[in-house]
Amino acid sequence: MEQKIRIGHIEVVRREQRVASLFGMFSSLIAIFLALVAGGVVMAVVDINPFTAYGHLFAGAFASKTGCANTLIKTTPLLIAGLGLSISFRCNLINIGAEGQMIVGGIAATAVALYLPVSSPLLMFVFIFLAGFLAGGFWGAVPGILKAKFGISEIINTIMLNYIAIHVLSFMLDGPLREPDNYYPQSAKIAQEFWLAKILDGTRLHAGFLIALVLVLFYYLLFYRLPQGFRIRTVGYNPKAARYAGMSVSSNVVLAMFLSGAFAGIAGMSEILGMHHRLYNEFTSGYGFDAISIALLGKLHPLGVVLAALFFGALRVGANAMQHVVQIPIAIVYVIQGLAVLFILTDTFFRTYILTSYKRKGLKRRKRA
């Protein structure tokens, strides 16, 4: 009750809040920094100079036009899927299924691109986009519906659907979508006029990156300007209050999972139409799993997710260069990513810890005065 707060403390409470919010803003950067340090220690243990290694990593990712383009190419699917996961996370749904949702998005996009008898590239793009969007959305909506109607953990179901999608892909490449007479299990090549256009001369950077930027804008509008985003957030934070305020918990849960999966589906579509131009096993190269860390490190904020995706994209590109020069396994990148997530989880703990010691000091100071 406010009348029991002695006036002298109010100023302190304010200052504590300021310290807390500053800490919140930088906690992702601190987490990434700590993870890089830990990665450096791991390198130093096997006698690799971490500064040299990180130097090569940075140079590989940013020092040349090709490097930058490659970084953006890797950033594209990570960003799209990361935004998608952020939508479900904002609804307090732990969607682990971006990988599977990407895969089915890619399958659907390929099938449409190969077999839909449409010749206009623009019209075709619409259909391909829709195919990826809807297929990914469906793969996300299924666990959403199971959650909303039966209360089954979306975590387990999205994970199971990842494995199922992997086997569906393998089946498609064995049968229905396999290019006849090809030794490898892969689809036929998609006609070039349907590819996503290159947008930077001399590089492979494609229009998928522009799609990603448009989706950033969409994400911003959804959660900062549209009433629907407010509903999704309310359901995520407090479903009881959402119901009380007249919102439908189940339809918002399904919608968030659908959009989340649809984003991942678009990421899969963009990979096929922008990069690989055909379907093959493991075309997602684990982007869907990285997207989880990206959403978390980006703190579900549009700009944060962009930066986190860029960081992960750069890590992937730079790690290749680093492996080439200093012989360090690419897996170090996953160590750094995983640790960054674990570090970010401790931020509340350390924030309270810092605040408590700050408060204690403050108390002592006042007592002395």
Partner: protein, 512 residues
Amino acid sequence: MEHERTLGDGEDLVIEMRKISKQFSGVLANDEVDFTLKRGEIHALLGENGAGKSTLMNILYGLYSSDGGEILLNGEKKEFSSPNQAIQNRIGMIHQHFMLIPTLTVVENVALGLKDQRFYRLNLKKVEKRIMELSELYGLAINPWARVGELSVGEQQRVEILKVLYRDAQVLIMDEPTAVLTPNEVTELFIVLRDITKRGNSIIFISHKLWEVMEISDRVTVLRDGRRIETVETSLTTREKLAEMMVGREVILQYDHPPVRVGAPILQLEDVHCADDKGLEVLRSLSFSVCAGEVVGIAGVDGNGQKELAEVVHGLRHVDFGKIFFNREEITNKKPRQIIARGLAHIPEDRHSTAIVMDFSVTENLTLMNFDSPPFTTYGMRHSRVCTEYAQRMSDLYDIRGGGVTEEIRNLSGGNQQKVVIARELDRNPDLLIAAQPSRGLDIGATEFIQKQLIAERTKGKAVLLISTDLDEVLAVSDRVLIIYKGEIMKEIIPSQASFEEIGLAMAGVRD
């Protein structure tokens, strides 16, 4: 013994707490409080919500550590850093919210944490035997093999008492033990408590209800704003004196009800039945109506269907049978959204979990019900500036304090969170206002504020449904009072024309 007995004139003191202080994030919950307990007495600790009663007792029980002061047990200085030490020193505590595990049996609940068990085998038979002995000794009838979740509230309290007696406590701390009991159960409890003190044990009885303090205690210590106001012999004081000590000024127990023309019925329930979360029928054949320009109070002991009543009207709970009308239109089992749109406002019982989103700002919480309509949203776009300005106005109007409107509401005090809900619900200019336990957890000032608001709404010609377990509140605010028991209306009374005894009987389910 190096400590002199400074208090109590050589009387037999079990516990002596000296100058206890405790601070929670800038708030002084206890400010140099002194407290003594004599052997064999029932000592009431009286104070408003937030006066520091529970904090003081949690310090005694070792749950909180104090920032200053000392505790003497039987004249010896002690420091309890965990409940374990308190238990070993034969202090037991029965918390306001029972510390029971509903999925376990009575025996298992009692056996939890016992020190006389061998680590490799849980001997429940042994525990059962002693429970039966104690149960006989103190008249606490219980089935030791029943699951606690299936027991009535009164029986659950017996389990709590047995837990403490089993551990051989000489001091029992009871935090608001009557809050959840029917009048009958209270009478039974008081008999048991007297029996316990006759055997040389002492009881600390925490309460904010004057009449029960007058009835059960030998001495009373009054706390206000974390400080001890006075300790008096119960026989040498009166209700009025205690009330004044507790609040710090004279208390208004009566409100003016300006005359108003009672209009058409706004809310009508006809033979409504519904089930609770466990699927048991909790409203049976409930019928009543609330008209424009009146406050109808629903009185009764907690857990007789009050929460569910508010929920069925709001569309949050399925009606199994019967009909509900709002402004003469049927709204039975309509969606909450449709019912809210017809003009319902609802200050729910569990505000923290239902009516506010802790992670949202004050602004977002103030616009929770109408964020998607003008002026907050126009042409499909939400305008945060409009929302903030509105929130600023409401904050000034309702005196919402504790950081600005962009502050997360979790950083506000409970009273201010409450004001956010009240401001939001009243400002929507509803036809019907449901207020469930509106003053629970508030101090007297805030309580008076909200009670006056309810009467003001009625005087404006709105219909108000007040659901409260606080009989004083219901009687002071309502024009008509309905007494609910097991989901049925037992009796209708006019506050000025009924006696406490009459109401007490109806609350216990006795029909005329």
